[in-house]
């Protein structure tokens, strides 16, 4: 009986001695908040759109097929182009991908699946998270010391390989953190299901964990590689060329890069170089968009198949 009265009380409606529903004020707050968050989203999108339109307009006079296939020129800047920087950046992108993805995946699998919960491993974990926030110029100095100078016999000094290794260091923490998150999201039941069939750890990782973690890990990699391709500061320290007479054709070659080319142009006073820089920015954006689209397509294909 006591229970019955309780139930009745609860169902008495929105107004009563115990409740003052005040719906109009609550819905009002609801509307205010939805406007606030919409504005917050719009600010970012509008600024980006304005930037894109402005840059494209500035660069439109220079943008042409010729711009993509020519070397930059100081004597005839109107005929100059971005070809060696574009090739250099694509080399950087490819090499950085090849270096950082296996290393990042490996480190993440170790930390998530193999590492015991010891003091040293906890220290490593904290450090990796912190490394993601270290300024890129610091990585540049590290790269200068290790890859350009110490390992010069292997990397060829200030080569595109040294640049890619430096960028890999820069983005490894991000890849590791993203991959670990993806691995951690896989329920323990999947691992146990594998073990219960007489699978070894590696078999479970290879057949189940990596395929399931890949979509999430790829998202982190896309973000990280986008950041790497846009970096100028560390490359300036590890020996990117501001001008060279050939396009990079091997990992030990010298290289130019899009962000440093833009930096070089933009620091010159003549209008034509300013326009070239704007056109260069458009090229960077397109490269990024294409690279991201490919990665997203890949990710979606993995998601479907798994």
């Amino acid at each position: 009986m006591a229970q019955g009265t309780q139930v009745k009380k609860r169902g008495e409606g929105t107004e009563g001695p115990q409740f003052k529903a005040n719906m109009s004020a609550r819905y009002g707050l609801d509307r205010v908040f939805s406007v606030v968050v919409t504005l917050a989203a719009l600010v970012g999108i509008v600024v980006l759109a304005v930037l894109l339109v402005d840059v494209t307009r500035d660069g439109s006079s220079m943008l042409s097929a010729n711009f993509l296939t020519s070397f930059p020129s100081q004597i005839f800047p109107e005929n100059g182009g971005i070809y060696p920087a574009l090739v250099g950046s694509l080399w950087l992108l490819g090499l950085t991908f090849l270096i950082s993805v296996p290393l990042g995946l490996g480190a993440a699998v170790y930390l998530e699946e193999y590492a015991e919960d010891t003091r040293i491993n906890r220290l490593i974990e904290i450090n990796i998270s912190n490394l993601a926030g270290v300024p890129s110029i610091i990585y540049g100095l590290l790269g200068l010391g290790i890859f350009v100078q110490l390992l010069a016999p292997i990397t060829g000094g200030g080569s595109v390989l040294s640049g890619a290794l430096t960028l890999s260091l820069l983005i490894l923490p991000v890849i590791i953190v993203a991959t670990r998150e993806a691995l951690r999201a896989i329920p323990r039941a999947i691992r146990e299901g594998g073990y219960a069939l007489g699978a070894t750890k590696w078999e479970v990782i290879r057949s189940h964990l990596l395929p399931m973690a890949l979509p999430g890990a790829l998202t982190g990699m896309i973000l990280a590689l986008s950041r790497a391709i846009g970096e100028a500061a560390p490359l300036l320290v590890v020996g990117v060329a501001l001008y060279q007479t050939y396009a990079t054709s091997g990992p030990l070659d010298g290289y130019m890069a899009l962000p440093t080319q833009i930096y070089d142009w933009i620091s010159r006073p003549q209008q034509i170089f300013q326009d070239s820089a704007a056109a260069g920015i458009v090229v960077v954006m397109v490269v990024l968009l294409v690279a991201n689209s490919v990665a997203i397509l890949l990710r979606n294909r993995f998601q479907r198949s798994s």
Binding site: A189, E192, G193, G198, T200, S306
Partner: protein
């Protein structure tokens, strides 16, 4: 090439020798031609870190029978069953002490390989946990990694039939296992366990997350399974234990925080009609728990 062949040849004959040895003493050949190994547990205790979860467990699990484990929540049934195929130690900090023999072999002996043990003592979990793969690959994967060299298509069909799932999925073997209903997923997990041809199958509340119809199907499967396998099942459903099992073990904890004990273990009929201990009777008649 030559040496490899010999080595594998010897491996196979070793296994069959062992079965031949064990068969007479653990009770008769199975009609399905499957394995007939029972298990013998002596003074088993299981720990999570320093916490003793179950202790002093000794019992004989008969070959080709269904042994049910019942008891209130938190009294160590799941912990215990996970000790029978060395899944317990997968949890960080968890370990077991005592002796668990599969046929003649102590699975906790130094020369026992947990990976090999887990193929021979399969496990179906409480919640269906199909792999993120096609139905076909869910069943075939375990066999493949264990070096199955026969016809995989046949193996997949046979396993799915044994698990009473074949008719429902035969037209969509290439679709993801996640697309199945909960009951179908659980039968898929049973099929995948059968595909590696274990000798014992452990089931940790396999039907607790399922509706009555799916439960019925899984129970039907189980009475088929015991023809070829030794089955151990943890269940909270007393009617289920009474319906399907030949032997029943009652797990009980006297005081909160104590380790769980095997309170009483006997033929199912005796446990449910005339148990020796009062707590068992109270539990099976629904007076507590």
């Amino acid at each position: 090439m030559e040496t490899k062949k010999t080595r594998e040849g010897r491996g196979v004959s070793e296994v069959s020798d062992e079965r031949r040895e064990v068969r007479p003493e653990t009770g008769g050949a199975a009609p399905g031609g499957g394995s007939t190994l029972g298990m013998k547990i002596e003074n088993l205790a299981a720990f999570y870190g320093s916490f003793r979860a179950v202790t002093d467990i000794s019992m004989d699990i008969q070959a080709n029978k269904v042994t049910a484990l019942i008891g209130p929540s938190g009294c160590g049934k799941s912990t215990f069953i996970r000790c029978l195929n060395r899944m317990h130690e997968v949890i960080p900090g968890a370990r077991a002490e005592g002796k668990v023999a599969l046929g003649e072999q102590d699975i906790y002996a130094k020369n026992s390989d947990p990976v090999v043990i887990r193929r021979r003592v399969g496990m179906v979990f409480q919640k269906p946990n199909p792999f993120s793969k096609s139905i076909y690959d869910n069943v075939a994967w375990g066999a493949k990694i264990n070096g199955f060299r026969g016809n995989v298509d046949e193996l997949v069909e046979r396993s799915l039939r044994q698990a009473a799932l074949w008719d429902e999925v035969k037209d969509r073997l290439k679709e993801s296992g996640f697309g199945l209903s909960g009951g179908q997923q659980q039968r898929l997990c049973i099929a995948r366990t059968l595909a590696v041809e274990p000798e014992v199958i452990l089931m940790d509340e396999p039907a607790s997350a399922l509706d009555p119809v799916s439960t019925q199907k899984i129970e039907d499967t189980m009475s088929e399974l015991k023809k070829s396998y030794t089955v151990v099942i943890v269940t909270h459903n007393m009617q289920q234990a009474a319906r399907i099992s030949d032997y029943t073990g009652f797990f009980y904890i006297e005081n909160m925080g104590d380790p769980g004990h095997l309170w009483e273990f006997d033929e199912t009929e005796k446990i449910f009609s005339n148990p020796d201990r009062k707590e068992t009777e109270d539990y099976v008649t629904g007076r507590f728990g």
